[in-house]
Amino acid sequence: MEYVSPIELAKEKILVVQDYTWLSIHSVANLFRKPLYMGDILQQADVIGVGSLPIVVLTGFFTGAVLALQAANTLQRFGSLSLVGQLVSLSMVRELGPVLTCLMVAGRNSSGMASELGSMAVTEQIDAMRALGTDPMKKLVTPRVVATVVMMFFLTIISDLVGLAGGSVVARFLLGLDVRQYWSNAWENLVYQDIVMGLTKPVLFGFVIATMGCYYGMTARGGTQGVGRATTQAVVAASVLILVLDFFVTRLLMALLSFR
């Protein structure tokens, strides 16, 4: 194995952070510079949003269902089984809805973006685009970032709703609770701060998913092996960053929104 000095390694890592930051800033700045590729944004929204719908629905439903099961087990000991709805709704809306949805979409779309852009990079298609006078950052990166951010927002809402529905199925058929009681308990205990927190996260995580996928794709080198490596790195980096960011965003929003 080739020895790399710690200084070289540190320089390499700093360069990665610098390049990623540059890509992230440009992906947003391009929104205010012509041309804006609306057709590409809509196409990506279809691929990311509609394409991810089945996995988001399935994940959301079963997460809500298992939450209800687990919660019931504990709540029953305190004679508070009727609070299942509240527990499912708070957990889904604040935390599990955004995080799990984004992790699922990261697995599906960060990898997709990294492999697609990576294949383009290693076959000189990105260079060809630049040679044809088109900025790949505007044409390829910005539409993916915009589409992912917007679609993550809506996918999380769907995931939250489906998760609550999953919980209600368990509450009704396995716990024998009244469905109306479940829904009113779930709904009434949600406050404005929960919704703000639950819908701020997918926007930030969506940005991470798209920029990570695009960064590793655009910088892929070394043929098909390089594309494979970029794909894996994109998913791992996006997933880890989502979980790390989740902690800090939660902490920050709790402070900002004067959480109860």
Binding site: Q125, D127, A128, R130, A131, L132, G133, T134, D135
Partner: protein, 282 residues
């Protein structure tokens, strides 16, 4: 260890480039980590001229094209393309210049998610003010030029290597660029297909008289270009009578160990005393 650098057969660096040259390289250096690939490259390409770049694999021929397009930045030196300083212009400022240049990549670099029509129309579609009928007309015209009009609705994956190269030429010429850059357009192709590609390049050269830089390691391609001219009647190139020269200026540039060791026309090349070049040419 690299071979000793031979003295220049001609002295391209010593003649100052004409003010209106299409491409000017002045003492360009480029290194990748410790490997200095280009060591003071200087040459110029005049308007309407075709220059063929030779050199063994890894001599930096393709890098010269990428530098001319601004896809890479040199470590030092100055590059001027169509009157614009490429070295000092940031990436954002280069897109307008690149729209005036056509580039044919080594492996075609067609967008595999787009059809042949969309590949060729890519640049035209970016110019939002062009009506759809005009785009369609120019795409068909470019594909007709490379004799592939029938492939309009196919995907690049459905084309042979030679056909892909021809579509890449159509994509490069569809905007009628002021400068054309060919990166090994016949690389990896069989002799018959290579001849078809050279036929198209000669046709482009003689019909539109576009300034061109062509990278190749196939000497026969360069000599075919020097000894043939496009014949409008047969729609193919034909051999020039002995002793006559092609109307469009054609020159050769040979690279070795990161230096230009020859820059001259076919007659200077044929009569050079340089042993390396004579061995290379023979």
């Amino acid at each position: 260890m690299s071979a000793p650098v031979l003295p220049l057969a001609s002295s391209p660096q010593r003649t100052p480039p004409p003010a209106g040259a299409a491409v000017v390289f002045e003492d360009v250096h480029l290194a990748f980590e410790d490997n200095e690939v280009l060591r003071g490259i200087s040459f110029h390409l005049e308007h309407g001229e075709t220059k063929v770049l030779f050199g063994v694999a890894g001599s930096g021929k393709s890098l010269i094209l990428k530098l001319a397009l601004g896809l890479l930045k040199p470590d030092s030196g100055r590059i001027t393309v169509l009157g614009q300083d490429v070295t000092g212009t940031p990436e954002d400022g280069l897109f307008a210049l690149r729209a005036r240049i056509g580039m044919v990549f080594q492996e075609s670099a067609l967008f595999d998610s787009l059809s042949v029509r969309d590949n060729v129309a890519f640049r035209l579609m970016e110019e939002k003010d062009l009506p759809e009928e005009e785009v369609e007309r120019r795409v068909r015209e470019a594909l007709r030029f490379v004799e592939l009009e029938q492939t309009l609705d196919l995907d690049p994956a459905e084309l042979s290597g030679g056909m892909r190269r021809r579509v890449a030429i159509a994509r490069a010429i569809v905007t009628r660029p002021e400068l054309l850059l060919y990166d090994s357009p016949t690389g990896g192709l069989d002799p018959v297909t290579s001849n078809t590609i050279i036929d198209l390049i000669v046709k482009q050269r003689d019909v539109y008289k576009t300034s061109s830089l062509l990278v190749t390691h196939r000497l026969q391609d360069a000599f075919t270009m020097a000894t043939h001219q496009f014949d409008e009647k047969s729609n193919h190139m034909r051999a020039l009578p002995k002793g006559t020269r092609c109307e469009v200026p054609l020159s050769f540039l040979i690279l070795r160990d990161g230096h230009v060791i020859f820059d001259g026309d076919v007659h200077q090349l044929a009569h050079t005393d340089d042993t390396y070049i004579r061995n290379y040419v023979s």
